[in-house]
Amino acid sequence: MGFKERFITRQTPIAPLVTFRIIFGILMAYGALRFLYSGWVDELYGEPTFFFSFYGFNGVEPLGTTGMTLIYFGIALTAICVALGFLYRPAIISFFLLFTYSELVDATNYLNHYYLVVLISFLMIFMPLGSKFSLDAKLFPKKRRNTVPVWMINILIFQLCVVYFYAGFAKLNSDWLFRAMPMAVWLPERQDFPLLGFFFKQEWTAFIFSWMGAIYDCTIWIFLLWKRTRLVAYLFVLVFHLMTWSLFNIGMFPLIMIGLTPIFFSARFHEHLLGIFGYEEDWNLKERAGKSWFTFPFLIAFTAIQVLLPLRYLYYGGNVLWHEQGYRFSWRVMLLEKSGTATFRVKDPETGDEAPIRNSNHLTAFQEKQMAIQPDFILQYAHHLHDYYEEVHGIVDPEIRADVFVALNRRPSRRFIDPNVDLSQINDSFAPKEWVLPFKEMKNGN
């Protein structure tokens, strides 16, 4: 059996993907309803008057509180359809579009696990997951199938391995390993934690957490891949994520990792598991050899992007924790204790008058907090201020400069942005941002 057949085209039982589909759907529905229930739709889409965008997506506009509420109900509804396998393809396509749209509206809210959901739901569009143990299979018996090409399972396993590997790789920086940052700031906050609180007050606990976390992320995917250690590794997955879930405010991420990691287990395991709920093989079905010229190049492109995208920080040099160029979409989780003070100044070139801007007139407190530490947001905000003073105050081509000071991982603050640069004259691009001042205390951010 060649590589291509063994890892891509070979038919394999669909059971692992059935479990995956059901858990993913339930988790996503729960996430969307939790989002609605917490009142975040209004806080994150209703209150802001200005929205930050991802590079290249600045045309994506929000729909207001009512519209976004409907979007989130749509996400919950399509997620339930995915879990039930009801009209699976339309449901997963709609889910992907709705979810991705909601994430593109305001980049302030970027979280790595939201990006993971976008990627996984995108992959699931290409998988016939409604064809077994689903309402679709009941309604449309002709579409039933027992098997899928093995790449459908492997690409999801690959994706989870990438998440773990790069999350671990990012932790191999001097702040994480030798200063236990930011664990040494976050753990003492939890000194009232039942039983363990005393330990969180100890400095060495932060070091143990940091090293264990780094070793876990760097290696857990290997032990999950290896059949003999898989079960033990999954117990580690459970313990690790339940711990981070109870200690830190990281929302859905631990649940998603706990819920999706069973994809590493064998088809037999999943058949037994689903068997409890009445899952059985349809012996009279023929295997389908759904071959497509599209599959191979698609998989090559997808995996290449996933491997290379997190490495783009190398192109920018300097310290990625500081300048955050190449920070997103790279599985850099829980690495930063970073805060900043950003005071923007608007200048009328005609009169020469200059005035500081009150950020709360333009941004929510949460947006301001995120903006003050991320250069691309600083630039977008400067352009917004430029346009605002041009349109509302009638000033011809106002100049926008900023005094930004940022404290990274419990170091004294440093000036972040060149205060002499008129930010309104700079257009964002993938080129290195020369107006972000270098950070000398810690050269290698990895």
Binding site: S38, W40, E43, L44, N109, L111, N112, H113, L177, F178, R179, A180, A184, V185, L187, P188, E189, R190, Q191, D192, K201, Q202, E203, T205, A206, F207, W211, F248, N249, I250, G251, F253, V333, M334, S339, T341, T343, V346, K347, D348, T351, D353, A355, P356, R358, A365, F366, E368, K369, H393, I395, P398, D403, F405, V406, A407, R410, P412, S413, R414
Partner: protein, 364 residues
């Protein structure tokens, strides 16, 4: 086995490396005694300041009662003098807007300025108003400032003694003072029970006493910088002239005293006088400022810069914002520089978050 031992030593070496680094700031898990700090702050600074504010308002209320019965100009002078000292005492306690003060919204109930004088007049002539409406600009010290000081002495006396309308004005002032007395009483007695909670609420998480005082200090400091100085000086708007009538206490002309008091009390709060204060906490953990010197010296220096530049301003502030643009701008930029030290560096070193910027969703 030998190779394994080598790896083990290497790991241990890496593990203990931080101990050898020249960096000296203690970890967030330090053994500084926060309980003592909070006890000293509560007993030596916060509770006495509230008691003082309460007493000052009580004597203002008493002298007002005397004046509203006599209507004499000497009694009016007593009211005016008591008003000024009560106002001075109040700008100090504005720094403690958490716990009992937050419960009664003390600061926004008693000192939203500038007063909306048209609305005050309309209220009084209509006789229907709610002096306790949240975020109103027609009650508290600013309304008293207008009613007790605007116009000539005879105009003021006539305002309250006038046979037709005097009664309505007197009722309005009495209503305002009644609320001030009630709220300050509530905060004073609130601290009796809150004190123990305040002292024992140690740690660095959101909602701990450390995070409350640092947030309260910053919030009020920025308010002083913006509302007492920046806005009336026209420094916060582009191509805008100064707006002298927007100073605090415009009618009594007491603005500069109050602003100086507020800025200098920020340092007093930080240092808790000569007692155990945030400065001692920062020194205890060897907190460094961005110039490599101790953060305490950076912050003290920043406060001293502000105090000396506001001391250069001539009375009254409402004229200074027009005639002394350079001095006003200097004071404003000194205060702006200090924000970085107390709002970014100090919380970073003390391991608390500025929580009035709260994270609404998850983080990762």
């Amino acid at each position: 086995m030998r190779r394994f031992r080598g790896v083990l030593f290497l790991m241990m070496g890496l593990f203990f490396l931080p101990a050898c680094e020249p960096e000296t700031t203690s970890s967030c898990a330090n053994d500084y005694d926060q309980g003592t700090l909070f006890t000293r702050l509560a007993d030596d600074l916060i509770i006495p300041a509230y008691a003082d504010s309460k007493n000052e308002v009580a004597s203002l209320n008493a002298s007002w009662t005397a004046f509203s019965q006599s209507g004499t100009s000497s009694d009016l002078l007593n009211v005016q003098n008591d008003f000024k000292s009560a106002y001075e005492a109040f700008v100090k306690v504005e720094y403690f807007e958490f716990g009992p003060a937050e419960d009664v919204a003390l600061r926004t109930s008693l000192n939203n300025f500038p007063a909306n004088t048209l609305l005050i007049e309309a209220n009084i002539s209509s006789g229907t108003y709610d002096l306790e409406a949240p975020d109103n600009y027609y009650a508290g010290f600013p309304a008293l400032d207008y009613l007790l000081f605007s116009g000539t002495e005879n105009e003021i006396l006539d305002r309250f003694n006038n046979a037709n309308s005097g009664d309505a004005f007197r009722t309005y002032v009495s209503g305002i003072l009644g609320i001030m007395v009630t709220k300050l009483d509530a905060v004073n007695s609130g601290w009796d029970s809150y004190r123990g909670n305040f002292i024992s609420n140690t740690g660095t998480a959101a909602g701990t006493s450390l995070s409350l005082i640092i947030n309260a200090l910053n919030e009020n400091f920025e308010k002083t910088k913006r509302d007492r100085l920046g806005i009336p000086a026209g420094l916060t708007a582009l191509n805008a002239p100064p707006v002298p009538q927007n100073v605090e206490a415009f009618h009594s002309g007491h603005s500069l005293v109050l602003m100086k008091e507020s800025f200098s009390f920020a340092k007093e709060f930080f240092r808790n006088g000569n007692g155990e204060g945030l400065d001692n906490f920062l020194d205890d953990i060897n907190a460094l400022g961005s110039n490599g010197q101790s953060l305490t010296s950076v912050i003290n220096g920043g406060f001293d810069d502000i105090n000396s530049s506001v001391n250069l301003l001539p009375e009254p502030l409402s004229d200074a914002v027009i005639n002394n643009e350079d001095l006003v701008t200097q004071a404003f930029s000194d205060a702006s520089r200090q924000v970085v030290h107390i709002k970014t560096d100090m919380p970073t070193m003390l391991c608390v978050a500025i929580t009035y910027i709260d994270n609404p969703s998850d983080s990762d």
